[in-house]
């Protein structure tokens, strides 16, 4: 199980899509490829944009299928971040 604190990369407002992409490419995908489970810890992140969440996880679902969500855990999400993650995961599963 590998864990990353999103706040350390983004600060309290997670909006930089390039940073989301970095987390995905350098952390999420390599971990999943090693069959490790991933924890994305949003502690300290007050808000995010849909674009950030999209850049963070959409390509994981696209590449690895919806089953990838069985191995990704979203921790310490406030309600807004939770809703945004739900939006992205739903439309991604509609798309794949």
């Amino acid at each position: 199980m590998r864990e990353i604190k999103i706040f350390n990369t983004t600060g309290s407002f997670a909006e930089n899509k390039d940073k989301a992409r970095e987390i995905r490419i350098n952390f999420i995908i390599p971990s999943l490829e090693k069959k490790e489970k991933v924890i994305l810890d949003f502690e300290g992140v007050d808000s995010a944009t849909q674009s950030f969440i999209h850049a963070l996880i959409s390509d994981v679902i696209k590449q690895k299928g919806a089953g990838a969500l069985n191995n990704i855990f979203f921790k310490n999400c406030n309600e807004i971040i939770r809703k945004l993650i739900e939006i992205v995961t739903v439309y991604m599963q509609d798309s794949v």
């Binding site: 909006e15 899509k17 007050d46 944009t49 849909q50 674009s51 999209h54 959409s58 807004i80 509609d94």
Partner: protein, 323 residues
């Protein structure tokens, strides 16, 4: 090119201001203004700044007629003359700002944007929950400029809080390729208005061929989210790109708010024969009287986004022709 700053220009009455642009001469930008009082939406400051930077970059001169209006200090304070490197001919003693405004900023890259978002919050002197939608809008709009506009001057942004109406008004402007060009490769919009309507439709992005599809970095949701924020707060939202302007009109107070995926089914006005704006202009008003319930809004958006995408895909289905 000639621009005249009228007495009053807000989103609601911006149409005559835009129609009055004279785009015949590309070698000089002449700016004149109402002699007594000029009161404008921040997007107007962004437009003049963006245009001035663009034209100067292309060798044009800027001739800003000395302002006589009593309100001329506002333009100085918002940084218009400074950004365009013009002498305002106003002598103003600098003092600690007590106003609630974000002066005109040129944002060219991701680092600029991150710094800007951090710095702008204290300038507005607002409670954190009221700042959330503003941060959201600015981030999404400015990142659209970086990703889609190919603008060499980045995004020009400014905002103002109006205490009396408890409203934030903000503008984000670029002088890039415009929306029609961005969507041309995959969607072939027939005109600028159709292009704007497509850009506002959930599931349409200029970065993927797949209809209703998503790319690694885009889902075609950003502008729809922002339009939905304006609609929920019963305020104006405007996009002007190429020869077209789309304006979401205020939702009447007695009317229930229902988010609609197709922007052309919303309560809007439009014009498709305006003077050509090379790039994209976005303006929004956001009344803070009732804190937008972001969570509920996101639930509605999720539903409409999904339905809108399905409708979009269905529209492209071809039925077999039986003869």
């Amino acid at each position: 090119m000639k621009i005249h700053l009228m007495n009053s220009v807000w989103i609601g009455n911006i149409d005559p201001f835009i129609r009055s642009f004279d785009i015949s001469n590309e070698h000089i930008l002449e700016i004149t203004s109402h002699k007594k009082w000029v009161s404008v939406h921040p997007v107007v400051l962004c437009m003049i700044s963006a245009l001035g930077l663009f034209m100067r970059e292309h060798g044009a001169k800027i001739n800003f007629e000395k302002m006589e209006a009593t309100s001329k200090h506002y333009f100085h304070r918002m940084g218009l003359f400074n950004l365009l490197n013009l002498d305002s001919e106003m002598k103003i003693t600098p003092h600690e700002s007590a106003g609630r405004f974000i002066p005109i900023q040129q944002i060219k890259n991701s680092e600029d944007l991150e710094g800007f978002i951090k710095e702008m919050i204290p300038l507005l002197h607002l409670e954190p929950n009221k700042v959330e939608p503003i941060k959201y809008i600015i981030s999404e709009l400015v990142r659209n400029v970086f990703e889609h506009s190919s603008s060499t001057n980045g995004a020009i942004v400014c905002a103002q809080y109006y205490k009396k109406s408890n409203t934030i008004r903000l503008g984000v402007v670029d002088t890039g390729v415009g929306i029609k060009d961005t969507l041309q490769i995959f969607y072939h919009p027939r005109d600028d208005l159709r292009a704007i309507a497509l850009a506002l439709t959930p599931g349409v992005t200029g970065t993927t061929r797949k209809l209703g599809g998503v790319s690694e970095m885009n889902a075609g949701a950003g502008l729809f989210f922002i339009k939905s924020l304006a609609k929920t707060s019963r305020d104006f939202f405007m996009i002007y790109s190429g020869k077209a302007m789309y304006k979401l009109l205020k939702n009447p107070k007695n009317k229930q708010i229902k988010l609609i995926a197709d922007p052309l089914e919303d309560h809007y006005s439009s014009d498709n024969k305006l003077p050509y704006w090379k790039g994209t202009v976005v303006a929004i008003d956001l009344c803070l009287n009732e804190t937008i319930n972001f969570k509920e809004l996101l639930t509605s958006i999720r539903k409409v986004y999904s339905e809108g995408k399905k409708k979009l895909i269905k529209e492209r289905y071809r039925k077999p022709k039986f003869i």
